[in-house]
Amino acid sequence: MNPDWSLLAPEYILAGWAAMVISVDLFFGRVRKDYLAYLAALGALVAALVSLIYINDDKPFGALLQIDNYATFFRVFFCLIAFFTCLISARFVQERVIHAGEYYALILVTTIGGIYMAAAEELLTAYIGLELLSFSLYVLTSFLKFDLRSNEGGLKYMLLGAFSSAILLYGISLIYGVTGTTNFSEIAQALSGNNDDLRFPMLLGLVLIISGLGFKVAAVPFHMWTPDAYEGAPLPITAFISAISKSAGFALFLKLFAEGFMPVIDEWRWIVAGLAATTMVFGNLVAIQQRNIKRLLAYSSIGQVGFLMMGIAAISPDAASAMLLHLAGYVISNLAVFVAIIICYNQTGKENIDDFAGLAERAPFVAMCLGASLLSLAGMPLFAGFVTKFILFQAAANQDMLWLAGVAVLMSFVSLYYYLVVIKEMYLGQPEAPTRFPIVPLEYAALAVLTAGVFFVGLYPQPFFDATANATDLLFAGTSAASVSSGPPAP
């Protein structure tokens, strides 16, 4: 059967655009580097718009990819992440990075990798998508050639990445050995049969796959690379990693476990739940101790990973859609935080929490947006974080995971502390210099849009809720999810 090549149009656009950005940089070396950023951002935006064509499609590409609402959701989502990352990189890259063309091209290529992870229907395609994403990110992390921390972070990220890739591959091979297939739904069929002899390798395969994906999303204890990579990477790339690497990891995690491993849910549910609990406790506790804003966000993102894994442990149509909702809310809030921090960094070149003292006087708008986004991350009402956490925790509680939801609430509470510390510095601290920040229209606009998103999700979550419910609708269609689900998601 000939695959329908037209299904991959957004990826062609991204890849072609990446080549174009490199060529422009190569052949028109004197072009202003921030134009490259706008060019790349435009490409991401075009790809996002083209992706919208496939809404409500449900077509396979060979047996490798499935272009359905789930894939469309993540296509748009990842392209928008890339769009914002390119935009906010403009000034940073112009001032601090050489080889701007490659920088933007890699961002677009990473996006392709992420999309393949979300759209994959079988393990090897997913693995290749993951490697495409990871390799681009290794390079991007160490992009600041003359910065030791950047080199260190990139190297650690790559070595550990290779290590965990091996673990993941080993897991994949074991599952292939047990089931004789790499296709998700065929895995589910094979596993639902009675196969007691192969229990041991199947379990080992599960553990290894969870570990490998756990590395990707930075679950404790596979998170060690995160703080170093976050701190070392160029700031916009830190934002990019925190958004796309996690989302893509979770997209694959959710799809694989909902479609492939549902029949053996009792085997892995407690592993994931335990991992979720450890991750949220560890991430949030260590975050309290951080002094560097990037490391603080690294640990806080680890804490958030714990919340998201809860959605996988409590897997059900409700929980899956709630997890996607929280993922979207988290990424929007987190990007807003990073945009605000990048604006400050471009101005001051400093990145410790103390350096934010008196920001409210020097840049009131930035301080307000940063404050709102941090409160959203903490899960305060009015902001995105409250709604998404509420729905996610409720979904977990509905699946007999009340204890886990309890731990999550407690840790949300802890997280409020370290977010508030930043807000306190901004509003109560004395500024080093009383000068106002100059207003950079583009960066301020990006910040305004993202902050508006934070409020929008917080005040009127219904459209997002519908979107995530649509996206996850089909995940459970094939498997006998009826035994664990508590009814269809709200229309």
Partner: protein
């Protein structure tokens, strides 16, 4: 676009948008943007007219009609922003949009020169938005949100001159007292939600009528209904929660006219009218409570009104008196009488407040001991006040007469002769104190010549609304007649338009009609007798019954009783709780757990060594641990 009932959401949207605009940009606009507020007020009235036309076109059975959006909807919880219109709502809309726009206009004169001029109009817009949302809401949750919205606006506006301690105290008192009722309302709403799983008013009414689920349990239904009534009693200043309304007169007079006469205080009446099928389905004791509290409120307020010497406070007590009457009507299942009284009361009470505001504006004095003889200096204010007072007293053929007559007829139908007699007696007292306040302020000789010399007629922007309201006070009562109703495009008289269960065709009961008229005239005639000259006869009566005079003069010591309760019970209890909170909860619980958390974080951070082999080891360790857990669970 067709403008009709489905677009009713436009009403709060217009004023809400104006509020947001004034809040953000008001200080950059000339005159604080008051013209925008006036424009928004007029716009709501115009939209109201379209809605009214639309409502008259459709058959009654299709009501209520409206439109809504799901705000949040997931399993087990649906929150809607829904707006709908029915007959009761349209009466409320008439009062809110019409009186509202007049008062916004009047305020541009009354508040001139105030340092927070723009802020006044901003809050006024927020109030009108909340009030419109309250009457249009199709579900109890939205209604409750708007209910608290008008509460907070009332708080802000009573305390508008918060530099004055008494104003700040009054704002606090109003807020806290009504909150007591509001808690009841909230619990009531939750009880209904628990029983039916919905906040939708129509669905709840249906469930109550058919006794579905938990609502089939009479005690549960009655309890929930009484809790709803608690909220209504708080907002509508019914005994024993009436104490805040007289103090609320500390606010600017337009506020008293709008919030504390025409609109917010009748929200309770509106709520009970809207939920009347639920009250009827509950145990009869629920409606008996409504009637009983109505009567107590009427007599307490009437008695206190007799001895008050502050012109605005007398009008305030007359408001409590009127609200009591409306609840008496509701207790007798007569939504018609209650809503008719509400409509006419909105006009003549706003008129009374605005006229007394005109007096205060001109003389900067509100004690009648310093006033007197003002009618020559302020003829428009004086005559309009007189007509308002006569309507409040219930003199035919003013609007107050017809509305009060409906209530008395309803009492005769549903209750016994004793209650009818009591109500008629209250009409007599009302006539006395309304006559008294007019007599003391506007007739006779000036008591303070400084004040009298200062007095002057108010500017047209203030007297014009007075004249408009006077006209309405004169004629609005006639809509009880079928002929008048039909001429206006209704099916018939007011009773055939707004009713509960059965349309009420107007018929005039001669005994009651003439009897109440005699009571009014007797009351008015007694005024010059007792308060003529220097008022010796009134003094003599007071001296005859010193204890009774003292009791009434001190407002039945309600404030003192509450104060003792607060001091002896509430503050003692809260003192104990505060000690517990400081020593146990804070020092041990919060600080202690914070210390443990921080210590744990401090320990855990050393796991991150920065050494690559350690990282790899952690991953390997993690894999092994997971495998161990997996196998432990498995085998």
């Amino acid at each position: 676009m067709e403008l009709g009932m489905e677009q009713a959401w436009l009403l709060p949207a217009i004023t809400g948008g104006t509020f947001a605009f004034l809040l953000l940009f008001g200080k950059y606009l000339p005159r604080g943007g008051d013209f925008l507020a006036v424009g928004a007020g007029v716009a709501t009235f115009v939209v109201f007219l379209f809605i009214l036309t639309d409502l008259l076109d459709v058959p009654r059975e299709s009501l209520p009609i409206g439109k809504g959006w799901d705000w949040v909807s997931f399993e087990g919880l649906e929150i809607r922003l829904g707006f709908e219109v029915d007959e009761i709502t349209i009466v409320m809309l008439a009062v809110v949009t019409f009186v509202g726009s007049l008062i916004v206009l009047y305020s541009t004169g009354y508040m001139r020169g105030d340092p927070r001029y723009g802020w006044f109009f901003t809050v006024l817009m927020l109030f009108i938005t909340s009030m419109l949302t309250l009457v249009l809401a199709d579900n109890l949750l939205l209604l409750y949100a708007a209910w608290e919205g008008v509460g907070i606006c009332s708080f802000l506006l009573i305390g508008f001159w918060h530099e004055r301690r008494s104003a700040a105290e009054a704002a606090k008192k109003a807020f806290i007292t009504t909150r007591i009722g509001d808690v009841g309302l909230l619990i009531g709403i939750i009880l209904f939600w628990r029983a039916t799983g919905t906040f939708d008013i129509s669905e709840i009414i249906e469930a109550a009528e058919h006794g579905e689920g938990l609502l089939g349990d009479g005690t549960y239904l009655t309890l929930a209904t009484l809790l709803l009534f608690a909220g209504a009693a708080g907002k509508s200043a019914q005994f024993p929660l009436h104490v805040w309304l007289p103090d609320a007169m500390e606010g600017p007079t337009p506020v008293s006219a709008l919030i504390h006469a025409a609109t917010m205080v009748v929200a309770g009446v509106y709520l009970v009218s809207r939920m009347m099928p639920v009250f009827a389905a509950a145990d009869p004791i629920a409606l008996d409570v409504v009637t009983a509290l109505g009567f107590i409120t009427v007599f307490i307020s009437a008695a206190i009104g007799l001895v008050q010497t502050d012109i605005k406070r007398v009008v305030a007590y007359s408001t409590i008196n009127s609200l009591g009457l409306m609840f008496i009507a509701l207790g007798s299942l007569s939504v018609t009488a209650a809503m008719l009284y509400l409509l006419t009361h909105g006009f003549f009470k706003a008129l009374l407040f605005m006229a007394s505001g005109s007096v205060i504006h001109a003389t900067e004095e509100q004690e009648v001991s310093k006033l007197g003889g003002l009618i020559k200096k302020m003829p428009i204010t004086g005559w309009t006040f007189a007509i308002g007072a006569l309507a409040m007293a219930g003199l035919a053929p003013l609007s107050g007469y017809w509305a009060k007559d409906e209530i008395l007829v309803a009492l005769e139908h549903e209750q016994n002769i004793i209650l009818l007699a009591l109500a008629s007696f209250s009409v007599f007292i009302t006539a006395i104190y309304m006559g008294r306040i007019f007599y003391l302020a506007f007739l006779g000789e000036p008591r303070d010549h400084h004040v009298h010399d200062r007095a002057h007629e108010s500017p047209p922007v203030m007297t014009m609304p007075l004249v408009v309201l006077t006209a309405l006070t004169l004629v609005s009562g006639f809509i009880v007649f079928s002929g008048v109703g039909e001429a206006l495009g209704f099916d018939g008289g007011f009773g055939e338009f707004v009713y509960f269960e059965e349309p009420e065709v107007f018929h005039f009961d001669w005994i009651i009609g003439i009897g109440s008229l005699i009571a009014v005239i007797a009351g008015l005639a007694a005024v010059p007798y007792f308060w003529g000259g220097t008022g010796e006869r009134a003094h003599a009566v007071a001296q005859q019954f010193p204890w009774a005079y003292k009791l009434v003069k001190n407002k039945f010591y309600m404030d003192e009783i509450y104060q003792v309760f607060l001091d002896r019970v509430v503050f003692v209890l809260s003192g104990i709780l505060a000690w517990f909170d400081r020593n146990v909860v804070n020092d041990t619980g919060v600080d202690g757990s914070a210390m443990i958390t921080r210590l744990a974080g401090y320990r855990a951070k050393f796991v991150q060594t920065g050494q690559l082999p350690n990282y790899a080891f952690a991953i390997a360790f993690g894999v092994i641990m997971l495998a161990v857990i997996a196998f432990a669970v498995e085998f």
